[in-house]
């Protein structure tokens, strides 16, 4: 019996070692490219750090400056607007599209999935160039259609007018954000237990009741995942801003990510940029935790 126990312990130890060995590459990657940069980011945020000069410890001065920086506060506001508008619209729109296409015949469903997924796999630069052309003040298609149909009196400088610029960015962001949620929702809806739906229909449930009482609870984990990734993506909106507006006009499209980039890479204010990164990470973490909590309670 004792021999059997020791054999079993040796086996467990060997399997544990093998398990850790398999995990090691990922662990090295995770520690080196995720944990270490995070710790470094928090650490550097306490310094006045710049290129080719010894860092100067300044405690929480970067954080104090952050909340007195009008541009940062404006960027924070813009980022929150993007998240508040983009996340629910993306979720609702992708759920609606998925509900319509998930039970279509195979090729039709695939075609729709491809169409909606296309902006996701298209490079940001290509997407931005096309949208920039469509929004062009002088010969853009929106102004052409708008003026010819009488919707607008004269050309609108969509990306050059602070009243419209942020809305345009959100619109583009939506087109690049809905692809993945649609694919995920189509899969989730296909996995809903059809026998429950059929039983409810036999009992006289309406389509809305079938959706709300049977399908919605079953796709809740997918919804939660979509909410979290869309929130994170919206908070990290950067490429579109850099390619289309550089944060303008008059800082109306500045986002925290763009402002981090500007401070760190243009002004070499590494400590200040890192402080913004820490604040952004805290906000995203809190929101994601709240979303998980809400989903758990349901």
């Amino acid at each position: 019996m004792a021999k059997s126990n020791s054999m079993s312990k040796a086996l467990v130890r060997r399997e544990t070692i093998a398990g850790y060995a398999f995990m090691l590459p990922s662990l090295i990657f995770f520690l080196g490219f995720v944990i270490y940069p995070m710790v470094q980011c928090v650490f550097t945020s306490l310094f006045d750090a710049t290129m080719n000069r010894e860092d100067i410890f300044i405690g929480f001065a970067n954080y104090v400056e952050l909340f007195q920086d009008k541009v940062f506060l404006g960027a924070l506001k813009n980022t929150v607007i993007i998240v508040v508008v983009s996340v629910p619209v993306t979720c609702i729109f992708s759920l609606w599209v998925s509900s319509v296409i998930y039970d279509l015949a195979g090729p039709a469903c695939s075609a729709f999935r491809c169409i909606f997924y296309l902006p996701v796999v298209t490079g940001s630069v290509a997407v931005a160039v096309v949208w920039k052309w469509m929004f062009n003040n002088y010969y853009g298609i929106f102004n052409y259609i708008g003026t010819n149909t009488g919707l607008i009196e004269k050309n609108i400088n969509w990306l050059g007018d602070e009243k419209f610029a942020l809305g345009c960015i959100i619109l583009i962001l939506l087109t690049t954000s809905v692809g993945q949620p649609i694919v995920l929702y189509v899969s989730a809806l296909n996995n809903v237990d059809q026998s429950l739906v059929e039983a409810a229909e036999v009992d006289g449930a309406t389509k809305f009741q079938c959706f709300w009482k049977i399908k919605w609870p079953q796709i809740m984990p997918t919804t939660l995942y979509i909410l979290v990734i869309t929130t994170i993506n919206s908070f990290q909106c950067f490429a579109l801003i850099q390619l289309l507006t550089s944060g303008g006009p008059n800082h109306s499209t500045d986002t925290i990510m763009y402002y981090i980039y500007y401070n760190a890479f243009k002004l070499y204010r590494y400590g200040y940029g890192n402080a913004m990164g820490v604040v952004l990470a805290i906000i995203i973490a809190l929101l994601s935790a709240a979303q998980f909590k809400m989903a758990e309670s349901k």
């Binding site: 093998a18 398999f22 303008g248 008059n250 243009k266």
Partner: protein, 459 residues
Amino acid sequence: MKKRKFMALALSCVMVGSLTACGGKDTGTNQTTADPAPASTEKAETPAETKENTDTQTAAPADAAQAAEITLWTYPIGSWGDSATVDGLIANFNAVYPDIKVTVEYLDYTNGDDQINTAIEGKQAPDLVLEGPERLVANWGARGLMVDLADLWTDDAKAVIYDSVQNACKSNDGVFYEYPLCMTAHTMAINRDLFEAADALQYLDEATGTWTTENFQKAVQAVYDSGQAAVGVVYCGGQGGDQGTRALVNNLYGGTFTNAEHTEYTANSEENVKALELLKSMDGIDFDASLVGGDEINMFCNSTFAMAFCWNVSQEKNNLEKINFEVLPMAFPSEDGRPQLCGGIWGFGIFDNGDPAKIQAAKTFIDFMANDEKQAIESVKASNYWPVKDLGNIYEGDELMTEYAKFVEYMGDYYQVVGGWAEARTAWWNMLQQIGSGTDVKTAVEEFVTTANTATSAQ
């Protein structure tokens, strides 16, 4: 069991190996290596070539002939952004210095700075970089990242390189961080066909390419009245091409961007405020926060605009196929018709990577490219600009280059070496956006100067 263990170990090795591969040095598609010429013992030379090369080597630093591998990162300065051209230039170099291997990486102005800054932080800065004083001197030089090029700036070099260029290549404390190769004067351009149709050519001097502020106003009004609603645009969507808007504003009433010592921004002068107010009030000139210099060039080339403020000879050469009208390059309008154009000066700088052999090899490369009698002409021609010293008429028979050459004499102060330049550039187009959206000119200009001067004093 042994087999399973072996498999597990092998898999782990593969995964670690793949991680190592991911972390390897970037060998992007825009990086090319110009192979050195065969070793001199293997190289068959004609007697004439042998003599030429011997002459050149005599001119080069005596201890330069040492083996080294150096990296050159180049911004797209004319054909210095084209690998076929640069490979040819490096082949010339390797014909004389076969033991120095030069690897080239081609940068663009959108991401180039980020690539270099990332490389600096990763202790992987290139040995050589081809760009202008605002980066080599005012930015990386001021941060102590560049090598002092005093030994290249011999008395002979100082005697032949134009004074204005010399001043731009050294820091305020007199250290040379750039060895210049070529220069140009940034101009503006007009659609001559549209101006002719609007009878506006009478307001400009085609021979000298100059006009007065008063005539500029009349010309723009005439073109606008002829039905061209968008005559020109003060683009301010970003920093791309901002030298055009700066030169326009500074020239209209003789304002300056900085003081003569390049220690303080002076864009809030009465002259600059007057110029901005004039531009804001003119029919046919809009402040557009959705466009940058590159957009303006494209929209001038497709006739959307009748004039471009972001222009130089390269723009015309690069866009010849797109343009179906006659382009007339012009200096920026000024009250007395004597403009002060913004210049571009490009040359080499060396990052101090702590390896004396590489630094020496890089200096040898610079000396060959910029000072070798025959090679310097080829190096300058590759840039599509003009030499920084008298090399004779290197563009003889080239009508376009001859037409643009007349603007070089109007080159004004090279103020881009002022401190806080990166922040000031951003503040400039932000200021133009404010003015475009209705903010009082004086208020916006004061805010710009405060921001820019704060950045200068913080450095």
